[in-house]
């Protein structure tokens, strides 16, 4: 039972990150490695703010803004300095490792005995004692769903339309008299904002920051997005963002199962990578970009 609970908790937390990667990978067609740096950045900022006595809820918007800033920088490197998409992310990811160490001051910052968004006077008051084991899951689910709904709402705005158009056909965006580079930067900002937000919540759930938690973030995010969009593509009544959230839950469940079957936890990143490979092979999302596009197209209307 504890295992199931932990899968759902972590799956929901990583789902916010996966929603960010859905924007970059599926909508903008931009493999964004920045997330390996922006996820732990959210965690680092949160650990520092909370250990200094800041309200844990304040940490959420702060981390979103910090992540958005990082996304803007990746975007500027790609758009203004004309560095290839993958390399722009790798440059930022590498630089952020040092930035995160500087923010946190050291490689590991525990925040035990501190208030978090899950454990504070307000939450303890409104959530009945009996639901205590499910408190974390409850809070996380609400945040993830609100994030998903906000993202859905944004995608239906004029600005959201441009974002969808720029990944689909950037010539059209230019024809509309809009700077396609700017639209890409906005997309990267929102995506990395979500990733840092996810990192913030993760640190609060784990009650510590560790410099290594960012390793493999991109792989986890991509795996969730691909499970969500490939495996669940037959389920037509689901919105694509919902599929991504479910994809994240499935992925976390698979990793947990592998650990449960006796693999030592030092193999965690290996499992993460091997599972991703399996998903790529069976999801057939490797060299079928051109073919995969219309499928994604069929879905996004729903």
């Amino acid at each position: 039972m504890a295992l199931v609970l932990s899968v759902f908790e972590q799956g929901m937390i990583y789902a916010i990150m996966a929603l960010g990667m859905y924007i970059t990978y599926k909508i903008l067609d931009f493999p964004d490695m920045t997330v390996d740096g922006s996820f732990p950045m959210g965690a680092a900022i949160t650990a520092i703010l909370i250990s200094r006595g800041m309200n844990p809820f304040i940490a959420l918007p702060v981390c979103f803004m910090a992540g958005a800033l990082v996304g803007v920088l990746t975007g500027l490197i790609h758009v203004k300095l004309r560095v290839r998409d993958l390399l722009s992310g790798i440059i930022m990811m590498t630089a952020l490792y040092s930035v995160n160490l500087t923010i946190a001051g050291r490689a590991n910052v525990p925040i035990y005995n501190r208030q978090t968004i899950f454990d504070n006077e307000f939450m303890n008051k409104i959530i009945p004692e009996a639901l205590n084991p499910y408190k974390t899951l409850l809070v996380v689910t609400i945040i993830t769903l609100v994030t998903k709904l906000l993202l859905d709402a944004y995608m239906a705005t004029k600005s959201g339309f441009l974002l969808r158009a720029v990944g689909d056909n950037d010539t059209l965006v230019t024809s509309l008299g809009v700077d396609k580079g700017l639209v890409k930067i906005i997309g990267l900002a929102i995506a990395n904002g979500l990733v840092a937000l996810s990192g913030s919540i993760f640190a609060q759930q784990q009650r510590f920051f560790d410099i290594s938690i960012g390793t493999g973030t991109a792989v986890i995010g991509l795996a969730s997005v691909i499970i969500g969009t490939s495996l669940l593509k037959k389920v037509n009544f689901l919105k694509i963002t919902t599929s991504v959230v479910i994809g994240s839950l499935i992925y976390k469940a698979c990793v947990a199962l592998a650990v449960r079957m006796g693999l030592p936890s030092s193999y965690l990143k290996f499992i993460t990578a091997a599972l991703f490979l399996l998903i790529l092979v069976f999801g057939m999302d490797r060299n079928t970009k051109a073919k995969a596009k219309p499928q994604a197209a069929d879905r996004s209307q729903l």
Binding site: A156, F161, N169, L176, K293
Partner: protein, 257 residues
């Protein structure tokens, strides 16, 4: 008015593969003109359109629109006054969005793309009225993904979308080349109608000599980066397809193909 003055454009300058596309090329298109541009492959027709729209940079020369030099102006800023349709029907529309969303986004050109709702229910009827004259049944498919439409349907939609908002210039780059003859005919009739109604200054590159003769009030033939024939007004009206065909064959023979 669009003026191209002494435009020079080289590909791979300084290398053995250096290719001179334009050497001091000049052309003036006056307001209200509908110019049909014909010419063999590699004559520089499409490059000329790309230069006007800012899609490719030039080495020297000036591009002047209504008296303002726009040589250094970014492509997306130039497109605010230009409607453009490409040969590839998929370039003018967004495949993953439906017809309503595509028309809404085109309708918003020139206005801010802010956090307002992307589609406006009240405008659906207006968009359907725009689609009805096409006789392609698109008005009943407002919620259909554009990616699942045929090339002809997408091109008709592209043409409508590119001229939905007030633009001064219409740039058509072989926009009927990828279509079957019947659909191409429909698209050309629509083009003629839109240009007339909206009084757009138009440049149309085409390989179809009949369309070049039938449509427009000026005909330009290009060859190896220069204008070798330029007829407008009554001269243009007198031009016959056979006559152009003859000149066309002559330059092709000279080239050795």
């Amino acid at each position: 008015m669009i003026e191209l003055k002494n435009i020079s454009k080289y590909y791979n300058p300084g290398s053995v593969n250096e290719l001179c596309l334009f050497d001091k090329f000049s052309l003036t298109v006056n307001d209200g003109e509908f110019v049909s541009v014909v010419g063999s492959n590699g004559s520089g027709k499409t490059s000329m359109l790309n230069i006007i729209c800012g899609s490719i940079p030039i080495d020297s020369g000036n591009i002047i629109v209504n008296g303002t030099d726009i040589t250094l102006k970014k492509d997306y800023l130039r497109h605010r006054r230009i409607g453009r349709v490409f040969q590839d029907p998929s370039k003018g529309t967004c495949p993953s969005m439906n017809i309503l969303e595509n028309m809404s986004i085109a309708d918003n050109k020139g206005k801010p793309f802010d956090l307002g709702r992307g589609t406006n229910k009240a405008k659906v009827a207006y968009y359907q009225e725009l689609l009805r004259p096409l006789n392609l049944g698109l008005e009943d498919k407002m919620y259909t993904q554009v990616g699942s439409l045929s090339g002809g349907q997408r091109q008709a939609l592209s043409l409508l979308m590119s001229t939905m908002t007030p633009v001064e210039f219409l740039i058509l780059d072989e926009h009927t080349a990828a279509l079957d003859p019947k659909t191409a005919e429909i698209i050309m009739q629509l083009t003629g109608k839109i240009v007339k109604e909206k009084k757009l200054t138009t440049i149309m590159v085409t390989h179809n000599l009949r369309y070049a003769v039938e449509y427009g009030n000026r005909l330009v033939m290009m060859h190896e980066g220069t204008v070798i024939m330029d007829k407008s007004g009554s001269d243009k009206k007198a031009v016959e397809t056979e006559e152009i065909m003859a000149i066309f064959n002559k330059i092709s023979v000279e080239c050795g193909n």
